[in-house]
Each structure stands twice: as C-alpha cells, then as structure tokens.
C-alpha cells in the first residue's frame, strides 16, 4: 500500500517538475535581450526602440510525509508482530500526504529610448520620477531625523 502511495507521489512529482521546468524556461526568457528591448517602431524618418530593465524571480518547494500513529494499548499482546507491521504500514499509507507550491513575479522599468534617424543614433534616458521622489523623501527623512537627534543631544549637553 505504501509502495503504491509512493509511486503515485513520484509520478505526480515528475509531472509537476515537468510543469515547473516549462514555467522556468518561460520565465528565464527574461534573461534574453528580447525581454529588454522592444520591437522597433518606425514613424516617419525615425525608428525608436525602448530599452527596459527587467527582473524576474521565483521559487518552489515540495514535501511528502506520513503521520506516525502510536500503537493502541494492548495491541502488542494480542496481535502478532507481522500483522501489527502490516496494519501500521496500511495506516501510514492512509495518513500520508504530499504537497507542492511555488510562486514568482517579474517587473520592468523603462531605462532609455534609442532613436535612430538619418542624423545618427541617439540614446535618451528615461527618468522614473516616482522612484526618484521616493528616494528623495527617504533621504530627507533620514537627514531630518539625524539633525533632530543632533539638536536634542546639544540641548541635553547644554543643561
């Protein structure tokens, strides 16, 4: 019985591993240049390519286990060793289980625009104002906290 359960688990694991491998292959496309550069768009005399930063990550895990059931009181004296072992194995198989889970995500941000024209190639950077503003607010907060602490220390020393 436990062998059947193990076989079923191994078959399921193999199928899930194949699915995960397929998923990983799809997500690892993020490591290709095609993920970073957009398709060129031509408008009039200019061709524009968008360059973006891409990051992707993921993880997965799996587990298999069986519940250990303690022998019932008086079981040892009444049932033979072989029967007890068989019962225990069947019970273990009935109480076994497996699980698997995974997750992942990806993000992208435009970094620059490549403009190809008759006058040559130009690279124009793209500034993410939200990110810069957030960094500025964080730095201002840190500086304000430091200055406030310095003033407090000075006031304490003056007393």
């Amino acid at each position: 019985m436990i062998e059947e359960a193990t076989d079923a688990f191994l078959t399921q694991t193999a199928q899930r591993n194949e699915q995960l491998a397929g998923m990983l292959t799809k997500i690892l496309v993020a490591a290709q240049p095609g993920a970073v550069y957009s398709e060129p768009v031509t408008k009039g005399a200019y061709t524009v390519i968008m360059a973006s930063e891409v990051s992707a990550g993921g993880g997965f895990g799996s587990g298999f286990g069986s519940a250990r059931t303690p022998p019932r009181p008086g079981e040892r004296s009444q049932v033979s060793q072989a029967a007890q072992a068989s019962d225990h194995t069947a019970e273990q198989a009935a109480n076994s289980g497996s699980g698997m889970g995974g997750g992942g995500g990806s993000s992208g941000r435009p970094v620059a625009i490549v403009i190809i024209g008759a006058d040559g190639v130009r690279v124009r950077p793209v500034v993410d104002v939200t990110k810069v503003a957030l960094a500025g607010v964080t730095v201002l907060g840190t500086v304000a906290a430091t200055l406030w602490r310095m003033r407090a220390m000075r006031a304490r020393a003056a007393k």
Binding site: L28, A31, G57, G58, A112, V114, V123, P125, T138, T142
Partner: protein
C-alpha cells in the same frame, strides 16, 4: 560538485540587429542569473547599443539615470547620517571641549 558559476551567471548578450537608414544597430544587454536549488532570479538590463555604419563600429552606452540619481541620493543621505553620528559621538565623549564646540561641563 557544483561550482559557483553554475549558480551565478553574468551574461552579456546581443539582440537582433535593427537596420534603419544606412545604420545597423545591435542592442546589447547584461543579465545576472541566479539559479538556486528551489528558485531563481534574473536581472536583465540594457548595457548599450553597437552602431555600425559603413564598416565603422561605435558603442553607445545606455545609462540608467534613475538608478544613478537613487544611488547619489543614498550616498548623500549616508554621508550626512555618518557625519551626524560622528559629531554626536564626539559631543558625548568630549562634552566640555571647546575645540569640538561642546558646551563646558
């Protein structure tokens, strides 16, 4: 035995060339790939473009201005925090030293 390079890879790759006017533009990217036993992480960013024109090639770097501004702000913040912490430390250690502008005890 697995080596570190099996888990961490820093790849530089070239994309499909784009032909426009008499220019051939080859986009290039750098990717950091982390392969872990139960996961992975990929960070891919554009590094520059190679421009070929009449047999001559030149490289145009792509600068991540947002990242540079962020790092600059972080650097400024860290310098101010460190200077402040050092001054606080000096004041508490030498409270009466006029050289260090502390108040006489």
């Amino acid at each position: 035995m697995r080596r570190l390079t099996d888990h961490i890879q820093w790849r530089t790759m070239s994309g499909q060339p784009v032909v426009a006017h008499d220019l051939v533009v080859i986009p290039q990217s750098r990717a950091l790939v982390l392969r872990l036993p139960h996961g992975f992480w990929v960070w891919n960013r554009p590094s520059g473009v190679r421009v070929e024109q009449r047999g001559r090639a030149s490289d145009l770097p792509i600068v991540d201005l947002t990242r540079r501004i962020q790092l600059g702000l972080l650097g400024v913040g860290m310098v101010i925090a460190i200077v402040g912490a050092v001054r606080i430390g000096l004041r508490s250690r030498y409270p009466g030293d006029p050289q260090r502008k502390g108040t006489p005890a």
